[in-house]
C-alpha cells in the first residue's frame, strides 16, 4: 500500500473538489475559441461561427421565440446598433439594440412597404427627437420563402451606405434560406408521418369476409356461439380501428391476437393448435400498434389454409435485458427465402398475406431504425419463424405510449 499522509490526502481531496466542476464546465463549453490563422481567416471563422449560432433557432421557422433567440447573433453578424425582425404582417417580432422606444413603432410601416413591393426599402428617419440619435437610417429587406413573404429584416444604422444595404440584403438572403430549410424540415416530418399513417396496419378484408361467413354458418346451428363470435368480432374491430396512439402494450396486443385466434379457431375447428410462452416481465413493453396480429394472421394463412392436417402455431415473448424478443412460428408450407427477401424489399408483387409481413417490417424499421427489421427463418415445406426485436425503451414510443392500463 502507498502511504499517504493525512495532509497530502486532504490537499488532494480539496483539489479534486475544485478541479472536477471546473473540468466539467470546460468540457461542456468545448474548446471552441482557439486562436489560429491570420486576422482575415479569423474574421471569416468568426463570421461563420456567428452565422452557425443564429441558424438553429431559425431552422424552427420564424416565430417570436426563434426571432428572439437568433436576433442577437444576426446583429453581431451585421455589426449595427439596432435590428428588428417582423412577421408577414409587418408586426415587430423582436427588437434588438438601443432606442427601442423611439423607433420600434416606426418599423411596421416600413416593413409593410417592403413586404408589398417585395424589394429592399432604404429610408431616412427624422422622427427621432434625440440629436445624437444613432439610428438615422433604416434598411428593410423582405424575407421571401418560396415566393411567399414570411417577414422582414429591418437594419438600423447611423449612416446609410451601399455597404449597409448590401450586407442587409445578404443577411436577409441567408435568413430566407434558413427559413426555407425550416419549411423543408417541416414537410419532411409531415411526409414521414404521412408514410407511417399510410403504413398503419389494417386488418385484412379476407379476415373480415371469412369471419362473417363463419359466423353466418353458426347462426342457425348454434345461435349462442354465433352471438359470442359477433361480440368478439366487434371487440376486435374496435381495437384495430381505434384512432389514437401508434403504440400499445404487449399485453394489449396479445389480447387482440387472442380475439383474432378465437374467430379463426371457430373457422378451423380443432385444426388450429396454439401454444404461448410469454415472460411476464415483457408484458408491459410498449410495441407499435398492431405489429403482431399481421404476423399471426400470416402464420395462420400460410401454415394452415393450404393443408388438411392440424397446424401448430407458437408465440413466444422473452425478456432480453434492454430488449424484448418475440417470435411467431408455424409448421406450415413455408416459402422460398429468396422470394421472401424480394418481397420484403418491395421488388416482388406480394400476395395478400405477404402485405402484412412487409408492412410490419417497414413500420418496425421506421420506428426503431434499420437494425430492428423482421428476421425470418423459412424454407419450402419447413414452416416459418418470424423474429421481432423491440427495444423496451424508445424516446418516441414513450411520448405516445398508452396512458392507462
Amino acid at each position: 500500500m502507498l502511504g499517504f499522509s493525512t495532509a497530502t490526502t486532504a490537499l488532494l481531496a480539496g483539489l479534486l473538489l475544485v478541479l472536477l466542476p471546473a473540468a466539467a464546465l470546460v468540457a461542456l463549453r468545448g474548446a471552441r475559441h482557439r486562436q489560429y490563422g491570420t486576422a482575415q481567416e479569423r474574421a471569416a471563422y468568426e463570421t461563420l461561427h456567428t452565422a452557425s449560432l443564429a441558424a438553429p433557432p431559425l431552422r424552427a421557422g420564424l416565430g417570436t421565440d426563434s426571432a428572439r433567440r437568433s436576433v442577437k447573433h444576426l446583429r453581431a453578424l451585421l455589426g449595427t446598433p439596432a435590428l428588428a425582425l417582423t412577421d408577414a404582417a409587418g408586426e415587430v417580432l423582436v427588437w434588438d439594440g438601443r432606442e427601442a422606444d423611439q423607433h420600434a413603432a416606426g418599423v411596421p410601416e416600413l416593413a409593410r412597404q417592403a413586404l408589398h413591393s417585395g424589394r429592399t426599402v432604404a429610408a431616412r428617419i427624422d422622427a427621432c427627437e434625440r440629436l445624437d440619435c444613432q439610428l438615422r437610417h433604416a434598411v428593410v429587406v423582405p424575407l421571401a420563402v418560396a415566393g411567399r413573404m414570411e417577414g422582414a429584416l429591418a437594419v438600423y444604422a447611423a449612416q446609410s451606405s451601399a455597404g449597409t444595404v448590401r450586407a442587409a440584403d445578404e443577411v436577409a438572403g441567408w435568413v430566407s434560406t434558413q427559413l426555407e430549410l425550416a419549411e423543408l424540415d417541416r414537410s419532411r416530418a409531415a411526409a414521414a408521418e404521412a408514410e407511417l399513417r399510410a403504413l398503419r396496419a389494417q386488418i385484412s378484408p379476407h379476415f373480415i369476409y371469412n369471419s362473417l361467413s363463419t359466423v353466418a354458418s353458426f347462426v342457425r346451428t348454434d345461435p349462442a356461439r354465433a352471438r359470442e363470435l359477433i361480440v368478439e368480432f366487434a371487440e376486435f374491430t374496435r381495437y384495430s380501428f381505434r384512432r389514437h396512439g401508434d403504440f400499445t402494450s404487449l399485453a394489449e396486443e396479445l389480447r387482440c391476437i387472442d380475439r383474432y385466434l378465437l374467430l379463426e379457431r371457430a373457422r378451423f375447428g380443432g385444426r388450429l393448435e396454439v401454444s404461448l410462452r410469454v415472460a411476464p416481465e415483457v408484458l408491459s413493453v410498449v410495441v407499435p400498434f398492431l405489429c403482431l396480429q399481421p404476423l399471426v394472421e400470416n402464420a395462420v394463412r400460410h401454415g394452415l389454409e393450404k393443408r388438411t392436417g392440424p397446424g401448430h402455431l407458437t408465440i413466444v415473448a422473452e425478456d432480453g435485458g434492454s430488449e424484448a424478443f418475440i417470435t411467431v412460428e408455424d409448421d406450415g408450407a413455408g416459402m422460398d427465402p429468396s422470394d421472401l427477401a424480394l418481397m420484403l424489399a418491395g421488388d416482388l408483387p406480394v400476395e395478400a398475406a405477404g402485405i402484412g409481413l412487409r408492412n410490419v417490417d417497414e413500420r418496425l424499421r421506421q420506428t426503431y431504425g434499420d437494425a430492428y427489421g423482421l428476421v425470418i427463418d423459412t424454407a419450402p415445406g419447413a414452416g416459418t419463424k418470424v423474429h421481432v426485436r423491440v427495444p423496451k425503451f424508445h424516446p418516441h414510443a414513450v411520448q405516445n405510449a398508452p396512458g392507462g392500463p
Binding site: 432480453g320 428476421v375 414513450v398 405510449a401
Partner: protein
C-alpha cells in the same frame, strides 16, 4: 462437501438460465399467458437480486470488527427503499424509462446527459460487482481451501453463461426463489447457533478487554501480516514468524510487533488475547456494544453511511430495471412496500452472526477476513456432521447471493453498454438485411461477456477490502450522481441538461476519485480517511448544489417538453389524460 453445495448452486443457476424454468410449459390460454407478475412475487425477486454478498456476509463481518455502529448498514440498505417508495417508484414506472440513461433522455431530451449517465451506470455496476466477486473468492477459500482467484472465475463463468445464453429466462421466478434460499440459509442455522450459544452458558464479550480466544484455536494465515501482540502468549507455530522458520514448534510470542509469514499456522491457547493488525486495535467489549464509539469521527461516518444508503438505492442499475415488471405505478408502490418488509426481516439475521462471531471467531480480527465469519460459525459452534450440513447451507446461500446479484448487475450493465453500441452503430450503417440484424443480437451478447470480464480482472488485482465497505462506496457514487438526477428530474421543473450533466460529473466524478484513492491505499486515520471512505455526506450536497446552481444559470435551456413530461410522471394511470 461444501464444494458440492457450491457446484450445485452454480449448476442450477446455469441450467435455469440456459433452459429456463418452464412451469407447465407453454400454455394455449391467453389469459394465463398475459397475467402480469403480482407485486408480491416481484417484491421477492427484487429482494433476491438486491441481497448481495454485502448483506449476506459483509454486515456480520463489520459488526464483528466494529460493533454496534455497523447496525446502520442493515437499516440503510432497507430504508433506501423507503425513499424510493416515497419519491421515485411510481413516477419512474410511469416514465417508461428502463434505465437511468433512458430516464435522462426522456426527461431532458439530451443525448449528452444520456451518455454521461450510461458511463456512470457501467462504473457503478462494476464497482458493485467487484466485492461480489471478491466475496466469492473468500468464500471458496474458506470452505474448500481453493486459491483466491478461483471464486471470481467461477462466478464470472456462470454469469457469462447466463448472459450469453440470452439472459435469465423466467428471471423473476429464479430471483424470487433466491430470496427465500438466502433467507432460509441464514435463518435455519441461526436457531441452532443460538441454542448452542445458550448451552455454552450464553457468554457476552468482556466489557473491559479486547477479544480473546474462547477455546484453543489454530489460525491459518494465508497472506503475510504484521500483528501487534498485547500480552506475551505461548503458541505453537508452523511456518514463518518474523524471520525464523518453525515446524510445529512452541514459541513465546512476546508483546509488541511480529510478522507472520505466508501460509503459517498458529495455535493459540484458550483465553489468549487476539493479536491485531498493527495500528488497527479492535474496540473493547464496552465500545463494541455501544453506538458512536470505537471508531474515528463516528457521528460523521454514521450520517455519511445513512445518506449513501438512503439515497443510493434508487440509483443502482439492477434495482430500477426490476420495477418495469410491474404493470403500473400503483403496483410499483405496492412492490416497494413489500420489499421493505422482506428486507427488514432479512436484516435481523446478520447482526446475530456478527455478535456470535465476536465470541467464537475472533481470529478473523487478526487475519482481517471478517467477512468469513458467517461461514465459519456452524463448524466452530456446533461441529460434527450437523455443523457441516449447516455450513453447506450457508455456503449455498452465499453463492446464491453472489450469483443472483452478479447476474442481475451484469445484465443491466450489458443492456446499457449494448444500447449505446447499438445506437452508435445505427448512426453509421444504413439499411440492414435479416442476417445482419441477426448478427446484432450476437454482438449485444458479446457486450454482456465484456461487461462480466472487466470486474473479474479488477477483482484479481485490487486490494481486498471488507465487502460491505466497497458496496457502501458503490451506494455513495449512486447517491451523489443518480439520486439528484432522479429526484430533481421528477420533482423540479427547472432542471436543465447542462445542470444535470454538471451535477453528474461533479458528484459522480468526485466520489469515483475517492473510490480510486480508497482502493489504492487510503490514509490510515483522521478526518482524511473518514472523508474519503465515507464521501456521501459531502458529495451528495455537492452534486445537488452543482445541479441546481448550473440549472439556474442556464435557465433558458429548460427542455421545451418539461411540463408535459412531468404531467406524465405524476398522473395516476386511472386518470385518462386528454389527448392532444
Amino acid at each position: 462437501m461444501s464444494a458440492a453445495a457450491v457446484a450445485l448452486v452454480c449448476l442450477a443457476t446455469a441450467l435455469f438460465s440456459v433452459y429456463g424454468l418452464r412451469p407447465g410449459k407453454a400454455t394455449s390460454d391467453f389469459y394465463v399467458a398475459s397475467r402480469a407478475v403480482s407485486p408480491t412475487r416481484n417484491a421477492y425477486a427484487i429482494g433476491g437480486e438486491y441481497l448481495s454478498a454485502a448483506s449476506y456476509l459483509g454486515i456480520a463481518g463489520l459488526i464483528l470488527a466494529f460493533g454496534a455502529d455497523m447496525l446502520w448498514y442493515g437499516v440503510g440498505y432497507t430504508a433506501g427503499y423507503l425513499v424510493l417508495l416515497a419519491f421515485v417508484a411510481a413516477p419512474l414506472r410511469r416514465s417508461g424509462a428502463y434505465t437511468v440513461p433512458d430516464f435522462a433522455e426522456a426527461r431532458l431530451q439530451s443525448r449528452k446527459v444520456r451518455r454521461i449517465a450510461a458511463v456512470l451506470v457501467v462504473l457503478i455496476g462494476w464497482l458493485y460487482l467487484l466485492p461480489q466477486l471478491q466475496g466469492a473468492g473468500l468464500t471458496l477459500r474458506t470452505v474448500t481451501g481453493a486459491p483466491l482467484w478461483a471464486g471470481p472465475l467461477v462466478v464470472t463463468a456462470v454469469v457469462i453463461i447466463t448472459v450469453a445464453s440470452g439472459g435469465m429466462r423466467s428471471v423473476t421466478l429464479v430471483q424470487a426463489f433466491q430470496y427465500w434460499l438466502k433467507l432460509t440459509a441464514l435463518a435455519v442455522p441461526v436457531l441452532f447457533l443460538l441454542l448452542a450459544w445458550r448451552a455454552d452458558g450464553a457468554p457476552w464479550p468482556d466489557a473491559a478487554a479486547p477479544p480473546s480466544f474462547r477455546a484453543a484455536t489454530t489460525v491459518t494465515v494465508h497472506q503475510a501480516i504484521n500483528v501487534e501482540v498485547r500480552d506475551p502468549v505461548r503458541v505453537t507455530i508452523d511456518g514463518t514468524l518474523d524471520t525464523a522458520r518453525l515446524h510445529d514448534d512452541p514459541v513465546l510470542l512476546t508483546a509488541g510487533e511480529h510478522r507472520i509469514g505466508d501460509e503459517t499456522r498458529v495455535r493459540f491457547p484458550a483465553g489468549a488475547h487476539v493479536p491485531h493488525p498493527v495500528g488497527e486495535p479492535p474496540p473493547h467489549g464496552s465500545d463494541w456494544t455501544r453506538p458512536l464509539s470505537g471508531t474515528d469521527h463516528p457521528v460523521y461516518a454514521t450520517y455519511a453511511l445513512l445518506i449513501a444508503t438512503l439515497l443510493g438505492t434508487m440509483g443502482l442499475p439492477h434495482v430500477i430495471v426490476r420495477f418495469y415488471t410491474n404493470p403500473d405505478g400503483g403496483a410499483a408502490r405496492r412492490t416497494t412496500w413489500t420489499v421493505l418488509w422482506l428486507l427488514a426481516a432479512f436484516y435481523l439475521l446478520p447482526p446475530v452472526y456478527g455478535a456470535l462471531g465476536r465470541l467464537y471467531t475472533p481470529e478473523l480480527l487478526m487475519t482481517g477476513r471478517t467477512d468469513a465469519t458467517v461461514l465459519l460459525l456452524p463448524d466452530r459452534l456446533l461441529g460434527g456432521p450437523g455443523g457441516t450440513l449447516l455450513g453447506m447451507l450457508l455456503t449455498a446461500g452465499a453463492f446464491a447471493a453472489f450469483l443472483s446479484t452478479a447476474s442481475g448487475l451484469t445484465m443491466s450493465v450489458a443492456g446499457v453498454l449494448g444500447q449505446e453500441l447499438e445506437r452508435y452503430r445505427a448512426a453509421r450503417t444504413g439499411r440492414r438485411t435479416s442476417d445482419e440484424a441477426r448478427g446484432e443480437v450476437r454482438r449485444l451478447r458479446m457486450a454482456g461477456v465484456a461487461a462480466a470480464c472487466v470486474p473479474c480482472l479488477l477483482s484479481l488485482v485490487v486490494v481486498e477490502r471488507p465487502v460491505a465497505d466497497v458496496v457502501g462506496l458503490a451506494f455513495a457514487v449512486a447517491a451523489s450522481s443518480f439520486c439528484p438526477l432522479l429526484l430533481l428530474g421528477i420533482w423540479w421543473r427547472g432542471l436543465t441538461p447542462h445542470g444535470a450533466a454538471a451535477g453528474l460529473l461533479a458528484g459522480g466524478g468526485a466520489t469515483l476519485c475517492t473510490v480510486a484513492v480508497t482502493m489504492i491505499g487510503p490514509p490510515k486515520d483522521g478526518w482524511a480517511q473518514v472523508l474519503l471512505t465515507r464521501p456521501a455526506a459531502w458529495s451528495v450536497p455537492l452534486a445537488f448544489a452543482v445541479m441546481i446552481g448550473v440549472s439556474l444559470l442556464t435557465r433558458r435551456h429548460v427542455p421545451p417538453g418539461t411540463a408535459q413530461s412531468l404531467l406524465r410522471l405524476h398522473t395516476p394511470e386511472s386518470v385518462q389524460l386528454p389527448r392532444r
